[in-house]
């Protein structure tokens, strides 16, 4: 598992210290990267008129910047959620299915579960949800 713990930190608060150290390293990394960027880059700010306007092929921008997303993105995202949830169940299954007495029964149980979910992707495929028209 996570906490065979780094050799530097052990004892009572070992795991927390590891986590804290990681957070600290992350913060330092972030700070150093952005700080270095800032120091090294050339900076000649100028703000002529229209610099921040949206550029649309030389035409004046019209309307807001929001464009309605197609609903099919939602369906794809939904299918993704479906299989994300499935993988959540697969993970605990994977750690125990090879135990004695568990064997085939658990494999079959998982096969049924995955099989039923596979119906969903089959349905989507036949309804041409997956092909972009």
């Amino acid at each position: 598992m996570v906490g065979s713990t780094l050799p530097v930190v052990g004892g009572y608060l070992g795991s927390y210290a590891t986590l804290g150290l990681l957070l600290l390293v992350g913060l330092v990394f972030f700070g150093v990267a952005f700080g270095a960027n800032r120091l090294l880059r050339p900076a000649r700010p100028a703000s002529p008129e229209g610099k921040f306007a949206t550029y649309e092929c030389g035409l004046d921008p019209v309307g807001g910047d929001w464009a309605q997303a197609q609903i099919r993105y939602y369906v794809y995202a939904y299918l993704y959620v479906l299989f994300a949830v499935e993988s959540v169940f697969l993970f605990p299954w994977a750690v125990i299915f090879d135990r004695p007495d568990f064997g085939m029964v658990t494999v079959v149980e998982m096969a049924v579960f995955v099989g039923v979910l596979a119906l969903g992707i089959l349905y989507a495929w036949r309804k041409r949800v997956l092909s972009w028209t």
Partner: protein, 509 residues
């Protein structure tokens, strides 16, 4: 980990659910692979066959008393009785769902994803409806079967979601008045998931109290636990909110009229009959098996809920002008009468509540079935004023509907009378006089809107705009005949079913 034992699973006891879920999955395969023109007969045949097969599987379990699947499923008298009831009512509801002769393509929209009122939507008006409703119906019925059999709160929660989700979906699939239908589905979905949240919260508190979620464990913990009772009562209260929402009891009833009105009428009938059976079946099991030791504490509270439910249902039913909403409020009031039976907390209470569920289910299915027949160019004409004079135009139809309304009003010789009598008698035996008094008074109030419809149909002159009564197809006729016959038979000779429910009225713990 060495003591990890696979649970013994009694497949015969689980067969009804396995058959239904299997048939539902097959239905999805059919959706995917059978050509569109042939889907309707195949799907309808498959779902009817699935329900009948599950019914046979339930009947073979008569007399079984067992807890199986690792303690998650309890198959006992009430389970078998209620599963049988759900399947019988579900079969009739399927007949209404499958009807396609009243309207080109049936009561469901062809493509629910098209924007209501748009050009492609107008083009699809005559197209045959989506056949996905059949697997959805099977999933819903299967979930209800599991709901009344669940022996721990976790399984019960999964079952609750399994039968709710198809209902939310089917509410959105009406062919006519699609925006109303979609609004109904959204309302039902939002409020339903909210109430599921309460249910889940309740499970968490009860787990905190008992350290277990199975009913026997909760029952044992209620006797003496080192945890504070606040967890137990809080958990039970939140759990009850989730269940009473599904049962449409006040003050958790507000969704009912809107959803009943917007949903396609066959689905409304299905919800009014089967969801009620499932919700009360689960409520009975939770209260009788897990929490019977604290019944003295929750009875007054649920009694107030029952009275409020009866009052709200009866009073608001009087003001309704739409028949679907009228029946919705009537269904709320009936939830109140059922609660009276539940609160008797005795074997009689259990058996009379189960009898009531069956009797009311058939009547309400037939009532919503008749609503599908009265149509004009815009679909069903549900406004009360449009029904004026229907008795002169189609006496047979009006007579049947009058009979159903009299059954709702609890007139003798109908199942409405025998079932109300049964629950009130059980409650009186147990000393719950206050509930019975409230029940009788609200019954009298509730008779008024029913009688108003009857008077409207028979004593008014038919107007120019009075819609016609369509000739029902084979499916609807069969469904109506079953519903009306059950209402009559259970009113004239209730003894066999009452005996059956009394025999079945013993939970396994």
């Amino acid at each position: 980990m060495s003591d990890l034992q696979l649970p013994h699973i009694n497949y015969a006891a689980l067969a009804p659910m396995l058959i239904l879920f299997g048939a539902a999955c097959a239905g999805i395969l059919i959706e995917a692979f059978v050509p569109r023109e042939r889907r309707y007969p195949v799907q309808l045949g498959l779902s009817l066959a699935g329900v009948v097969a599950a019914g046979v599987a339930v009947i073979t379990q008569a007399g079984t008393r067992t807890i199986t699947a690792g303690g998650a499923i309890a198959v006992d008298g009430p389970t078998v009785f209620l599963q049988g009831a759900i399947l019988a009512l579900g079969l009739v509801a399927l007949l209404f769902v499958g009807e396609r002769s009243l309207e080109a393509g049936g009561p469901f929209v062809a493509q629910a994803a098209l924007i209501a009122g748009s050009e492609p939507d107008r083009r699809q008006v005559v197209r045959p409806g989506a056949t996905e409703v059949y697997p959805l119906m099977l999933f819903a019925i299967g979930g209800m079967e599991l709901f009344v059999a669940a022996n721990d709160l976790l399984t019960m929660f999964v079952a609750l979601e399994v039968f709710s989700l198809p209902l939310y979906l089917m509410c959105a699939l009406a062919r006519r008045r699609r925006l109303l239908s979609q609004e109904a589905a959204l309302k039902y979905f939002l409020l339903g998931s909210y109430s599921s949240g309460f249910f889940l919260f309740g499970i968490a508190l009860i787990y905190g109290f008992a350290g277990r979620v199975d009913f026997a464990g909760i029952h044992a913990a209620a006797l003496g636990s080192d945890r504070s009772n606040a967890l137990l009562y809080g958990g039970l209260a939140l759990l009850s909110i989730g269940l009473l929402f599904k049962a449409a009891a006040a003050p958790f009833h507000v969704w009912t009229p809107d959803v009943y009105q917007g949903a396609p009428t066959p689905v409304t009938g299905f919800m009014a009959a089967c969801t009620k059976v499932a919700a009360f079946g689960a409520l009975l099991r939770v209260l009788y098996v897990a929490f019977d030791r604290v019944s003295w504490d929750y009875r007054p509270v649920l009694g107030v809920v029952a009275i409020l439910t009866m009052l709200v249902g009866a009073v608001f039913a009087v003001t309704q002008t739409d028949l679907k909403r009228l029946l919705a409020y009537s269904s709320i009031a009936n939830a109140g009468y059922l609660l009276v039976g539940v609160l008797a907390m005795s074997k009689d209470g259990l058996s009379s509540s189960m009898f009531y569920l069956v009797a009311y289910g058939f009547t309400v299915l037939a009532a919503f079935g008749t609503l599908t027949l009265v149509r004009d160019a815009d679909g069903e004409a549900n406004h009360l004023s449009r029904w004026a004079g229907l008795g002169r135009r189609s006496p047979v139809f009006a007579a049947a509907f009058t009979f159903l309304l009299l059954a709702f009003a609890g007139i003798p010789l109908t199942s409405g009378f025998t079932s109300k009598f049964a629950v009130f008698a059980a409650a009186l035996d147990d000393g719950q006089t206050w509930l019975v008094v409230a029940g009788v008074i609200t019954s009298m109030v509730l008779a008024f809107p029913y009688l108003r419809v009857v008077v409207m149909m028979w004593l008014s002159e038919p107007a120019e705009s009075t819609p016609t009564v369509s000739i029902p197809g084979v499916l609807t006729s069969t469904g109506l005949a079953i519903g009306v016959a059950a209402t009559l038979v259970l009113g004239l000779v209730p003894a066999p079913l009452l005996d059956l429910s009394t025999k079945a009225a013993e939970f396994v713990r």
